[in-house]
Amino acid sequence: MFEKVLIANRGEIALRIHRACRDMGIKTVAVHSTADANAMNVRLADESVCIGPPPARQSYLNIPAILSAATITGADAIHPGIGFLSENADFAEVVAEHGFTFIGPKPEHIRVMGDKVHAKAAAKELGIPTLPGSDGALRTADEAVAAAKAIGYPVLLKAVSGGGGRGMKLARDAAELRALFPLAQAETQAAFADDSVYLERFLDRPRHIEIQLLGDGKGSVVHLSERDCSLQRLHQKVLEETPSPGLDEAARQKITGIAVRALETLGYQSAGTIEFLYQDGELSFIEMNTRLQVEHPITEMVSGIDLVREQLRIAAGAPLGYRQSDIRLRGHAIECRINAERAEDFRPSPGRISEYHAPGGPGVRVDSGLYQGYEVPPYYDSLISKLVIYGGDRPECLMRLRRALEEYVIGGIDTTIPLHQRLADNAEFQAGAYDIGWLERVLADGDVTRCRRGSC
């Protein structure tokens, strides 16, 4: 096992990795920008090195500085955490070239999954279901209608060389498709000087379901079932839970089997997550994240498996050491992402924490580097705490979630705690009746922010 691990990240995830290292008796090196000198992960680390000024480009994305820090501290491995360099295949390679162990997947797996087009192709090869579509461009409306017949309506017309929604058209039947096809071509031509368009099945109310996987690079792969991350705002996850209140058991069995076989075929190493859209009993591949996920703790709560510890063990060359049949999932877990933002309009709210009281007691886990007097810097993302709740079942988990949110005090800045309190009181959320569009619809209604128990 490693003697000393350099954690090339910041915030709560850097603290999370520090904790996993210390739980294994591994020394830690924190690297930080000048803006994070007083961060809790830096202060708890056995050693720390300032690697640059606040801008991430010059610090947390500064590969030479990070490698120099590893050299001068004599670290033997580097954990990239989440974001920053965690899905940078070149970084994974250069880390190895400099004689350090990269705690994560093989560079080639990072690389293939990092490119949307290649990733979808790879997924198909691996037998992972993808969104039905016309493979390649369509020249005529007839071709489009024929393709749509196979795909099934509603369908979405998209620009091949597109992006940003330009030239996108939604067609609910053949007539509409015939009418829209020339328009789509024209718009696409105008936008991208290329009129080739293609079709994809349109999902109007999908859930975001992702499968957590662990592989040891020696052929052994297990899954830790799914996480439902459908509660999103502007494609940002807000709250995640496991198991999903909306995933059909047959679909769960099928997809976890496919996912495990796919990673066995790849010979995948470390923790990884395959994200899907789920609607009408069908799962369609979105992407694969070749790293830890922010929401990994809920899987830890129901599985009893420490995912960061597993990453460290696997990177050190250890085999998984257990089979799928050894894994027992128990209870229900929910994570609330608490951001330094106004709950009303999500305006960022950096600043000094004037008072802090974290909830505790049974079934409550807090992953956060906050403390009274800490200054939330304005340079990085606004995630400041992850409130992770465990319950024997979903109703118990929801009750405890309310209780924990009642207890949580973060003073001096605005946070999204009130949003989570209103979510916890929302009947549709309690019923598990939500898809990836639900939260934004509810926010638009102003429903979710309506007052409750005099808390606003």
């Binding site: 720390s48 640059g52 000024p53 030479p64 500085a65 008072e355 007097g373 003073g411 005099g454």
Partner: protein
């Protein structure tokens, strides 16, 4: 005794201080003090004579964090390797500092030396690359904070040139 609930306001905010300052004007008071369990704010204005510059002396380890977890020590803010003197030369990158071109050779500069702008003062090795650190302006080396072959982090003080 309490029944039911509502959430209290959070101090400290500059607006509060500004509004209290306005109240001083308005009321002709010279001090206002306000206390609310655990929190207290006190502003004063003693009139006559122009305001002298602030004498806010920062203790040596001012940037050390208030909380030190058991069994560990606080991280030192680079600026706290301190010496915020304008003449302080700070490390532009992380690496190993070398005060001489070769082991055993005399150092580029010694305390007391006069240096010209652009003159090489030391080298910082990062990823096998030797980075020459040059004098930003002419002056005299009055302190050398770093030892030969010592690791330096971004922003740590290297020398003082006056």
């Amino acid at each position: 005794m309490k029944f039911g609930g509502s959430r209290p306001r959070l101090a400290p905010d500059p607006d509060l201080i500004r509004s209290l300052a306005k109240l001083l004007d308005e009321t002709g008071l010279s001090e206002i003090e306000y206390e609310a369990g655990g929190q207290r704010i006190h502003v004063a204005r003693h009139v006559t004579a122009p305001a002298a510059p602030v004498a806010s002396a920062t203790p040596p380890d001012a940037e050390k964090p208030a909380i030190a977890p058991a069994g560990t020590n606080g991280a030192t803010h680079p600026a706290a390797n301190g010496h915020d003197d304008p003449g302080t030369l700070k490390a532009p990158l992380v690496g190993i500092a070398y005060l001489a071109a070769e082991p055993g050779q005399p150092p580029y500069v010694r305390v007391g030396d006069a240096v010209a702008e652009g003159q090489t003062l030391l080298i910082i090795e990062a990823m096998k690359v030797m980075n020459q650190i040059r004098a930003p302006r002419a002056g005299r080396v009055t302190r050398v904070y770093v030892g030969d072959s010592e690791p330096v982090e971004y922003g740590s003080a290297l020398m003082l040139i006056e």
